[in-house]
């Protein structure tokens, strides 16, 4: 057993209450400095660069990049895909959170793990899987061709890929929140004679509204920014199946740097906006939890 000897303290020194668990000031300064530098170089610098490159040739060129019709179409397609995928995954997220948070059944842990699976699959693999399923050489290719339905290299394919990639986002945020809030509210409503839908609408949803908003925001941001999966699924048909991220790639590869970064700046602004909203809803959700 080691015996530690500390130098005797001068009698006039008064220690602040928490000094036993706080690090010496020089360490604090070094670590905070190191972290700030790391984050600044690795994260803030690229963000700043996006805007710098977008405005490299001035405001006129920047705004002119958005006048392009292909750009309009790309933006429109991105919004369209998100508008379809996000509500669907939100409904799913609510159902999955209700199931996992409120019921005990065998296999619930497996189910929860499976729901998280899309986070671990490379977006390229995702796209490829849908191609293998719905593509012309795929499992259902002949059936689809026979019915004149185009999935791959068309909007349905983009939506499916986006659905896969954003699958768990709402559920992931809602489930722990619902678990933390407990069932007492819903049980109380039942004892008062409320039916299932009323319990859900009047009691559950208001309790989770901030987490739900948070989840929807994350899901939307991811849906609009998705690149790998839609890259495989879109066929890169300009003006038809290029979402905004794909259009950025096209512009960049053609050395049209200002339009590429202009489009990128739009998505970067969306990302910053997402972060702000995320911050706000997270604080609101924490505040809404009764102690």
């Amino acid at each position: 057993m080691a015996v530690f000897t500390e130098p005797a303290l001068p009698p006039t020194v008064s220690l602040s209450p928490r000094s036993a668990t706080s690090d010496p000031p020089w360490i604090r300064v070094c670590l905070v400095g190191a972290v700030v530098v790391f984050l600044g170089v690795l994260f803030v610098l690229p963000l700043v660069l996006i805007f710098q490159e977008a405005l490299r040739k001035g405001w006129a060129a920047y705004l002119g990049a958005f006048a392009d019709e292909e750009m309009h179409h790309a933006i429109g397609l991105t919004l369209q895909v998100a508008a379809i995928a996000v509500p669907l995954n939100t409904v799913f997220g609510l159902a999955a959170a209700w199931l996992v948070a409120r019921f005990r059944f065998t296999g619930s842990r497996w189910l929860a793990a499976l729901i998280e699976l899309p986070l671990w699959v490379s977006p390229v693999i995702t796209g490829m899987s849908f191609v293998l399923l719905f593509g012309s050489q795929g499992l259902l290719g002949d059936w689809l061709a026979g019915h004149g339905v185009k999935v791959i290299f068309a909007l349905p394919g983009l939506v499916l890929g986006t659905l896969f990639v954003t699958f768990p986002f709402v559920a992931r945020v809602l489930t722990p929140q619902m678990q933390a809030l407990g069932r007492a509210g819903e049980e109380a409503a039942l004892t008062l004679g409320a039916g299932p839908w009323r319990v859900f609408w009047s009691v559950t949803l208001p309790k989770v509204k901030w987490s739900l908003t948070h989840g929807i925001i994350l899901c939307s941001a991811r849906a609009m920014g998705e690149f790998g999966a839609v890259s495989v699924l879109s066929g890169h048909i300009r003006g038809a199946t290029n979402t905004l991220p794909l259009h950025i790639e096209v512009l960049y590869n053609e050395y049209q740097f200002v339009p590429a970064f202009a489009a990128a700046s739009l998505l970067a602004l969306l990302a910053v906006f997402t972060l702000i909203l995320k911050n706000l809803t997270a604080t609101a959700a924490a505040g809404a939890n009764p102690s």
Partner: protein
């Protein structure tokens, strides 16, 4: 009379929606992938995995991801520590910036990073003067993977650090231990499981990453070609067997990572008798 199984309503409906949607959107396509990969038989697998280009790509993807995950382990832990334990001006801003790679679309990050680290980029130029090539090299790939994996480590360690009681540290101080010793023997072991979990998460994320990396890598076969890009070029050449076999290997690794992550959580739960 039918025995009711659950007190709260909606079990059947939520189970139906969850399983149905899960099966349709997630399991069905992955099954198609597995089917296609298996349909070539073991010989196709051997041919694909024996292909040097494939092994080079897989090695690069796994290797760079591992290095990036380890870097993130250190940097992420420090960041989580600083955010939880210290008060400094701009703390909230730093906290928000941590999530930036998570919120930023991968293609946007991709072109930003390649421009930053290219030979006349803001960081690429000084590095080039030092004789280090960053863009179009494994280093660039690793930097991009550090970029995207960072939030996973921080956000996994942060809540655990937050919930850590200060009492054991105070006890250690009362027993005469210095801060470094207290950290090494009291604090760090308590957060190690979550740090490992975060590193695993970052690794898993990095292995499959495409958009952030494809621009900065340059995609030179055998040198800077990442596995996802190899899969895409195989698809474009209609080598479905090759693409699906490579893809299945990547998927198997992802699943193994997911399983080990959950096992780690289960182990941690048992360890602390939660």
């Amino acid at each position: 009379m039918k025995r009711r199984r659950h007190v709260l309503p909606g079990f059947g409906l939520s189970l139906g929606i969850t399983l149905g949607w899960l099966g349709l959107i997630v399991l069905l396509p992955l099954a198609a992938l597995a089917w296609r990969a298996a349909s070539g038989g073991a010989s196709a697998f051997q041919r694909v995995l024996g292909d040097e280009q494939v092994t080079a790509a897989l090695t690069l993807s796994f290797g760079a991801s591992l290095v990036a995950a380890l870097v993130n382990g250190v940097a992420g832990f420090l960041t989580a520590w600083v955010l939880v334990r210290y008060r400094f001006p701009g703390r909230r801003l730093v906290d928000a910036v941590v999530d930036l790679p998570f919120a930023l679309p991968t293609a946007v990050a991709g072109i930003a990073l390649v421009t930053l680290y290219s030979e006349n980029g803001w960081l690429g130029a000084p590095l080039a003067r030092l004789g280090i090539q960053s863009a179009y090299s494994p280093l660039g790939i690793t930097i991009a993977l550090v970029f995207i994996g960072f939030p996973f480590v921080v956000r996994t360690v942060q809540p655990v650090l937050q919930d850590l009681s200060l009492d054991p540290e105070e006890a250690a101080a009362c027993l005469g231990a210095g801060r470094w010793l207290t950290f090494r023997r009291v604090v760090f072991p308590a957060v190690l499981p979550s740090l490992l979990a975060g590193v695993i998460l970052a690794f898993g994320r990095a292995v499959g990453e495409y958009g952030s990396v494809v621009f900065i890598s340059g995609n030179l076969p055998f040198k800077t070609e990442i596995a996802p890009l190899l899969v895409i070029s195989k698809l474009e050449q209609y080598d479905y067997a090759g693409a699906s076999c490579t893809g299945l290997v990547m998927l198997a690794v992802s699943l193994a990572i997911l399983a080990s992550f959950h096992l780690l959580g289960w182990w941690q739960g048992r360890r602390f008798n939660r």
